[in-house]
Every structure is written in structure tokens, then in C-alpha cells.
Symmetry: C2
Amino acid sequence: MAKQLTPRGEQRRNELLAFATKRFAANGYHPTSVAELVDGLGVGKGVFYWYFDSKEELFVEILREAERALRRAQWEAMDDDPDPIRRLETGIRASMHWWNEHRDLYRLIEFARTEASFASGVRKGEKVALDDTRKLVQAAMDAGQIPDGNAVVTAQAILGVSSVLARTQLLGRKRPPDEVADEVIDFCRYGLNGTRPEARRSA
Amino acid sequence: MAKQLTPRGEQRRNELLAFATKRFAANGYHPTSVAELVDGLGVGKGVFYWYFDSKEELFVEILREAERALRRAQWEAMDDDPDPIRRLETGIRASMHWWNEHRDLYRLIEFARTEASFASGVRKGEKVALDDTRKLVQAAMDAGQIPDGNAVVTAQAILGVSSVLARTQLLGRKRPPDEVADEVIDFCRYGLNGTRPEARRSA
DNA sequence: ACTCCGCTTGACCAGGTGGTCAAGTACGAT
DNA sequence: ATCGTACTTGACCACCTGGTCAAGCGGAGT
């Protein structure tokens, strides 16, 4: 697409993006028709196709923006901390807060992974996330903070724990993001055998 | 449904189940039409509606059978081992082998979770899996094998690591199930800080 | 006052969709 | 041989889908 938009146009486009996100998350991508979207906004169908080439493009756009926003949130939180383990923890915490405020997007990304037409895009985004994580794990290994091992697998495991606890504890039961982040960090650091020498748990 | 089926009927039904599983996993549930299924099998449309009330029922049936089969595989593997940690490990290993041989079903369950009409069914199945896991974690805590903690969250974390590494390592890169299971177990036991005193890694 | 163009309208389309059903076929039991 | 019923056929249906487009609107620039 990439069209020149006036401020008014920009706003319409965002309305469409936001409303579609809500409906897709609530009802699923396929069951939500373009008609439902424009009716819900009280506009004609042509509006939709003025801003997007297709329903599919709209969805891809939502995904792309979500990934960009999450990544930015993580990087802003990690800021310039030089300690890899602390960066990792901060990243996890930032992710939890972000998911907490963009619950709909979690489900959309999960769906996108299950359908061939979107899976490749999602995988690209996840590759970036994995690589960010992997680099931190590798740095921590190099610095001797944690024992050597397969950094890729370790990074995936960390993302897996984050993802599952985000889904179940944060989005499912509605626990506070910081609490869930603490649990993710705990499990990732110590695993089952973890001896936790001192009290932790942040505010 | 629940109809009296002759052996021939039973076979047809299984053909439909198997073919639909393959197509749903490859193309997605919604994009796969009933017409495509019956054409692929070279039968008339009435055949489909003889065995299933609707496309949706077919899908739910696939999910239900998948969950039952996986659970049975886990329990058969764990058999009568009294040690909870070892049971946990065996369960993880069995799951990896099962997913490895039923790759299509992984994606189907992931999709089912993203759509309101199927999500409740999936959650029920996952609740069972979580409870099985939680009981083992609790038993290990009670026996003093691992430190006390929130057994539910821990169980979820274990399932999360299993799930992610199954998806990425087992199904994505096509690593052997036993290797992936070892990595899951390693991470779950020791986390990042894990010191691994002796060489592990099974054959 | 007029023009221009970003934006909006909604009837319309071709092509599917899930689902039905009257009719027929195959086959085991008698 | 015939009968009953488990199964199969495929034309058919009402409805809905994503997408198009000629026509019109409205507000900023002149």
C-alpha cells in the first residue's frame, strides 16, 4: 500500500487497525468479515479498501506493528545496562508489561503461526526475538555468569517459559505483570532444583 | 453424533479423520472446505455428513482423540515408576516421541486455542495435562526432592519449555525426540544457573 | 466562488461456503 | 432370491465472502 495520508486519513486507518485487532482477537481472523469491520465502524466498505489492499494485508500490518512495538518496549527498558543477565530479566519484565497492555495481540500472533500464509512472517519476527535473547545468553556464558551450553536452545526455553506464563498467569488468571515476570525469572535461573537462598519477589 | 458403524463405516470415518487432520494442518481449518476433503478422498459430499454433523464437530473430534491418545502414551510410558521426578522426565520423553509422530496435531491444537469456538475444549484438555504435571511436581516437593514453591506455576513452566522446544527443535529443525527431551529436562532441572556435574545426553 | 483530491458511499459481482436430501447402491442376514 | 439398512451420490440451496467501482462529498488552497 503506502499511500500519502492526511491526518484525517491517518486517524481512520488507525481506527480500522484497532477495531480489527479487537474483532480478530475476539472472534478469529477468518470468522471476522470485512463487512463486520466496516459496519462496526459505521463506514462504507470502500473505506476499508482505500486504506488496505486486502483483509490479509491488514492483518499482516497488525502483526508487523505489534512486533515492532514489543521490541521497542524491550529495548527501551533494557536501555544501556551492560550486565547481560540483568538485561535478560529487564527484557522479560518489559515483555510482561507490554503483553499485559496488548492482550489481543498475543492471540493474534499465536493464530498467525498456525496458518501457512502468515507463519513465515511470524517466524521472521520470532527469529529476531530469539536472536536478541540468544546474544544475551551467549554474553552471559562468555562472561562466566552461567555455565556454557547451547545458547539457542536456552534462549528458546526462556522465551517458552515467558510465553506460557504470559498466557496462563498474566492473560488467563489476571496476575500482575511483575509477579509473573518474577516467576519466569526464577524458573529460568534455577529450574526445579533451584535453591533460592534469599527472599526475592519484587513489589 | 454417535452412530452405529459397521467395520466398513468405521474405516471410512477414520479415513475422513486422517485426511482432514492432514489438510487442516497444512492449510488451516477455515481455508479447508468440506468439498476439498471429500474430493480429496474421491467420495460424495453426503459421506461427510453421514459421519459428522458438521465440519466443526469433525474438528472437535480430532482434538479430543489427539488429547486422549497423547495422555495414554504418557501414562503407558510412566507405567508404575514411583519416583515423581523420574515420572516427570519419562512423561516429557514420551510426549516428545508422540509429537514427533503426530506433527500435524501440534498445529491443530495451537490453532484451536486461538478461536473462541474451540478454545474452551482445548483449555479443558490442557487443564488435565497441567493437573497431571502439577501432581508430580507437588509429590516431588513433598518428598523433598525439590524445594517448595508454587506447583501450578512450576508445572506450567515445564509444559511451556516442553511445548516450545517441541515446536522449534523437534518439529522445526528435525532433531531426534530423545535429544530434545534431554534438553527440556536439563533446563527444567537446573535453569540457566544449572551446573551439570556429569556428562548427560542419552543416545 | 471554485477547484481539486483525499476520502466515502453502497449497490454489485463472481465465486465459494457449509449443509440438505431424494435417490440409489452394496452387502450381510435370512 | 429378497429384504433391510448402512452407506453413497451429486445436484441443489440459501447465504455469505472478499473485493470492485462509478458516483458523490467536504474541506483546504487559491
